[in-house]
């Protein structure tokens, strides 16, 4: 089952798609019975988000692209709640920067607490999945506590949605194709089969030293193919079975800067 969280007519609603499979058609049925078009609502991240983990360099091709050798331990960093954004949202590109890019990623949502969970049981702790777009502004990269928050923890830099998709609906999360499009042009392509650290490994790794809770989410990293985006660009991230997450880049002027 897929579900969304949206703001509509003065309240926040749980909503489900009218269409039975992910498609361009995103009309919604709200929990209270009303049927609304995708454009009529404000899409929020599709679940109550707890701790946000993100992976650096978790696809061999992307690590090569950045000229960094394959890591021995998952390169995990954390993101704060202020960065979260829903489907069809707008992300600011600061004036004067040279390289801001999207990252299409599979997001894994924890469904029940996980502490010292072995690989073999790890997927039992997964509630579902969604598409994530994890933006970075590389101009701000410094060599202190990388990737530093000014690169990765910016307002609107963590886009989640459109749907929360039940784990039961995804037969094999380890063979999902990912694609990103900028203004309709395919720019990034990959498959979760190429993850260096797969989902069970990541849950085993994290839960070995910390407790994962319901709503925590792991953004599993991005394959090669990140390109610069500029104001006005429409970025769409797609993952097999999870739908298409759309986001627009805006200039400082739209944010009163």
């Amino acid at each position: 089952m897929r579900r969304a969280r949206v703001a509509y007519a003065g309240a926040i609603h749980d909503a489900s798609p009218i269409a039975s499979s992910p498609s361009d058609r995103e009309d919604l049925r709200l929990a209270d019975g009303r049927v609304v078009a995708a454009e009529q609502v404000v899409w929020l991240p599709p679940f109550m988000v707890g701790t946000v983990f993100a992976l650096g360099l978790n696809y061999a091709d992307h690590a090569r692209e950045l000229d960094i050798k394959r890591p021995e331990e998952p390169l995990v960093f954390l993101k704060g709640p202020g960065t979260l954004l829903g489907h069809r949202g707008v992300t600011r590109r600061p004036a004067g920067v040279g390289f801001m890019h999207y990252e299409c990623e599979l997001a894994v949502i924890i469904g029940r607490p996980a502490k010292q969970v072995a690989r073999a049981q790890a997927l039992e702790h997964v509630a579902g999945y969604c598409v994530a777009n994890d933006y970075a502004v590389r101009d701000y990269l410094e060599n202190w506590y990388r990737p530093n928050l000014r690169v990765k923890n910016r307002d609107g830099a963590t886009v989640l949605g459109p749907w929360f998709v039940d784990a039961a609906d995804i037969a094999d999360p380890a063979t999902l194709g990912l694609r990103a499009f900028v203004n309709g042009q395919l720019t990034q392509q990959g498959n979760t089969r190429d993850l260096i650290f797969d989902i069970p490994s990541l849950i085993e790794y994290l839960s070995a030293f910390m407790t994962l809770s319901t709503g925590d989410v792991i953004l599993t990293g991005t394959p090669e193919g990140v390109v610069n985006v500029t104001p006005g660009d429409v970025v769409a991230c797609e993952i097999d079975g999870l739908g298409r997450l759309v986001n627009t880049i805006a200039a400082d002027s739209e944010f009163g800067r």
Binding site: T51, F53, G82, Y140, N143
Partner: protein
């Protein structure tokens, strides 16, 4: 005990002091902490001193109260406790100008940034700082109005009652208002978010069986016993 789940029962869970659960920390913001690195700041892998604030996140599983036991992981002889002044945000802070930054503060508390000691600031694993219970904070939130000058507070660290470290917020490279201005330029802070302003160096180290206590002028004491995880 599992700290994160208890966050919402702490005594300061009363508006306007309700914590959101988001805790941001700052490193190398105390002159002594940056000075301790010496010429290394100019050498690989850093190449240059930090430009933007050096920030990190303490996730919700790390949050703990005064009195909670901090567990020392197996194979780790001691933990480091960075004693910090923490700012509690009172209203949405986005691109706040430095002269008005403190208007966005609801109050202050003590933050103990507990870490597995690690030498590198380059790309450290989150397993050093993000373990369960590694961020005791409190003992309560003291209202902003009760703190005359957040840039002139003494921070005292004690081990089993013995004073082992003393620092002042007067020695912060970016004082509270400046740090809030620089951070909210790119990330909005929400009511209840906590920003720890940064510990002095070298941070005291604590072994199993010892109790760490941090006192900050006017904010009370944050006290936590440390025990081996296996004990």
């Amino acid at each position: 005990m599992l700290a994160g789940a208890d966050l919402f029962s702490i005594p300061f869970d009363v508006p306007p002091y309700r914590l959101s659960g988001a805790v941001y920390g700052t490193l190398l913001n105390h002159r002594s902490a940056l000075a301790a690195l010496g010429p290394a700041v100019h050498q690989p892998p850093y190449h240059a001193p930090p430009n933007a604030p050096v920030l990190f996140i303490k996730p919700r599983n790390t949050l703990a109260r005064s009195g909670d036991v901090v567990r020392i992981p197996v194979g780790t002889p001691e933990l480091e406790v960075g004693a910090c002044l923490g700012v509690v945000i009172g209203r949405t802070a986005c691109k706040v100008p430095e002269p008005r930054a403190l208007d966005y503060v609801a109050g202050y508390l003590i933050v103990a940034d507990v870490s597995v000691p690690h030498a590198s600031y380059h790309r450290p694993s989150i397993r050093f700082k993000a373990r369960d219970g590694f961020c005791p904070l409190g003992p309560t939130v003291t209202a902003r109005a009760a703190v005359v000058d957040p840039d002139a507070l003494m921070i005292r660290s004690y081990l089993d009652g013995v004073l082992v470290h003393i620092a002042s917020t007067a020695d912060l490279i970016r004082p509270a208002a400046r740090l809030l201005a620089d951070i909210t330029e790119f990330m909005t802070l929400a009511p209840g978010d906590v920003l720890a302003l940064g510990a002095a160096g070298p941070a005291p180290r604590v072994r199993s069986g010892q109790t760490s206590r941090i006192d900050i002028d006017g904010l009370g004491s944050l006290s936590n016993p440390f025990m081996d995880a296996a004990a």
